[in-house]
Every structure is written in structure tokens, then in C-alpha cells.
């Protein structure tokens, strides 16, 4: 009974962070800032939803898959964000005009 309530609290927190992440995807100016919001909020938000689901359903088939999905999500989502950011920079996507510094472009000028 009490564990159901804790699980539901986790699910609600996860939903809230997912909503903030999607809001960031709309409001922030360029691809790198959007990736920040998408990666952080959506990773922890989705993990929180999965963990809440695990607490509610317990050690059955679905709960075990929730735990496994959490691990894979935590491992793969930062790697995907890193690959997208690097690919975007390499193919010439500019930073937002309010950005203060771009050391990466300074160092990579000769190579491209």
C-alpha cells in the first residue's frame, strides 16, 4: 500500500521533469542548449517513471524490464547526446548568437 504511494510519487516527479524537458526543447535557442534540456530532464524523468512503475508492479516480468531499461537509458542517452552535438558542430551548425565562447571552433579551424 505505502509502496504504491511512493511509486506514484516517483511517476509524478518523472512526468514533471519530462514536461520541463519538452518545454526546454521548445524554448531554448540552439541545438546544443536543446540537447542539454532533452538529455538531462528526459533521462532522469523517464528513469523516475520506470522506477515508480517498478515499485508499483514489484518483481514481475514488467518490473524487471523497467530496471533493465533504466540501466540502458542511463548508459546510452548521454552517448547519443554527445554524438548529436559533435555531429552538429562538425557539419557547421552555429552556436546561438548570445554564446560567449567557442573553444572547439577555435581549435578545429584548420582541420575542416
Amino acid at each position: 500500500m505505502i509502496i504504491d504511494v511512493i511509486g506514484l510519487i516517483f511517476i509524478v516527479i518523472g512526468f514533471a521533469f519530462d514536461v520541463f524537458g519538452c518545454l526546454g526543447l521548445v524554448r531554448l535557442p540552439d541545438v546544443y542548449n536543446r540537447l542539454q534540456a532533452a538529455t538531462k530532464c528526459v533521462t532522469l524523468g523517464t528513469c523516475s517513471i520506470l522506477f515508480g512503475t517498478f515499485l508499483v508492479v514489484g518483481f514481475i516480468a514488467a518490473g524487471m524490464k523497467c530496471l533493465l531499461c533504466m540501466i540502458f537509458l542511463l548508459l546510452t542517452s548521454p552517448v547519443a547526446a554527445h554524438a548529436i552535438a559533435r555531429g552538429a558542430h562538425r557539419s557547421g551548425v552555429k552556436l546561438w548568437e548570445g554564446s560567449v565562447v567557442d573553444k572547439y571552433a577555435e581549435d578545429k579551424e584548420g582541420e575542416a
Binding site: A16, F17, F20, G21, L23, G24, R27, L28, P29, D30, Y32, N33, L35, Q36, A37, T39, K40, C41, T43, L44, G45, F59, I60, A61, M64, K65, L67, L68, L74, L75, P78, V79, A81, H82, A85, R86, H89, L95, W96, G98, S99, V100, V101, D102, K103, Y104, A105, D107
Partner: protein
């Protein structure tokens, strides 16, 4: 060979969790599939198996790395949520350089992943030969390489060195 056996064990455990609750038909299939995967890709999995023998590394990973990581992750989410719902959008983004002294692939991967999931930072590229990471920072507080290193990398570097190096 050791790398293949470790991959076999991990793959089999993942298979069992996917097919929970276990029964003998699924387990038998899982043994064959895990053996095939380990045979094909096992050499790529772990370069230095002797690292896995030290129980102290697991202790540091569970008791030092995971709590720090979860706490930073939570702070990162609250930070991004605050920036997103603030009407003025208080961001000052930029890409800075930071230094790292870690050497092995696993440690660098975990460092880059940790940087991505901690407040305001996203790792963009890595230069292994010089030990330099390029990090996108949503709120640049220090353009200088040493100050940026102190603020971004040092939270994790010491712990990761004890775990993976």
C-alpha cells in the same frame, strides 16, 4: 578469453532479466545466444580484465560514484527546469575546454557521460592524445581552462580514477 567469459555472464543475466520469471526453456536458449554473442564480440568488451578483481573498486563505484552521480543528476534537472520556466531564459552558453588526466577508455566514457548528466554541461568532443574534453556549458562562469576544469571535472575525476584506472 576472460573478456569473453565476462560478456557471456553479463549477457546471460540480461537475458534472464528480460525473460523473468526464469524457466528452463528460456534459460537454455539464453545460454546459446549469450555464448554466440560472447564468441563473436567478446574481444571488444574489456581490454584489462584484471581491473575486475579488486573488490575495492566495486565499493568505490557503489558507495562513492553512484550517490554523487544521482545527487548531481537531480541538481542538473532542477537547474534546467529553473532555466526553462524562468521568463527571461537566463542562459549564457558556450563551448569551453577542460583538461583530464584519466587515460583508459572506460574511465573517459564514464567521465564524459557524467559531465553530460551534471548541471549545465554537455560533452561535445574528446581529444585523447592531449587529454582535453570540449564541453558545452549552458552558463559559462569561467573561460579559462584551469578554472573550468576545477568546476566541471574535479567532482568526478578522483572517484573515477580509483574505480577504473
Amino acid at each position: 578469453m576472460k573478456s569473453k567469459m565476462i560478456l557471456f555472464a553479463l549477457g546471460f543475466v540480461a537475458w534472464l532479466l528480460l525473460n523473468w520469471p526464469p524457466d528452463w526453456q528460456h534459460s537454455l536458449t539464453g545460454i546459446f545466444i549469450a555464448a554466440f554473442v560472447a564468441y563473436m564480440t567478446g574481444d571488444l568488451f574489456i581490454q584489462r580484465p584484471h581491473v575486475l578483481k579488486h573488490p575495492k573498486r566495486y565499493w568505490y563505484f557503489v558507495m562513492h560514484y553512484i550517490p554523487v552521480f544521482l545527487w548531481e543528476c537531480l541538481k542538473a534537472n532542477i537547474d534546467v527546469a529553473y532555466r526553462v520556466i524562468h521568463p527571461d531564459l537566463p542562459i549564457k552558453p558556450g563551448i569551453v575546454k577542460v583538461k583530464t588526466t584519466l587515460q583508459t577508455d572506460t574511465a573517459l566514457t564514464f567521465l564524459a557521460n557524467s559531465i553530460t548528466l551534471t548541471p549545465g554541461t554537455l560533452s561535445v568532443d574528446i581529444d585523447r592524445d592531449n587529454g582535453i574534453l570540449y564541453v558545452h556549458w549552458i552558463d559559462v562562469r569561467a573561460k579559462d581552462i584551469d578554472k573550468a576544469t576545477a568546476q566541471i571535472v574535479e567532482r568526478f575525476e578522483g572517484i573515477l580514477r580509483k574505480v577504473f584506472e
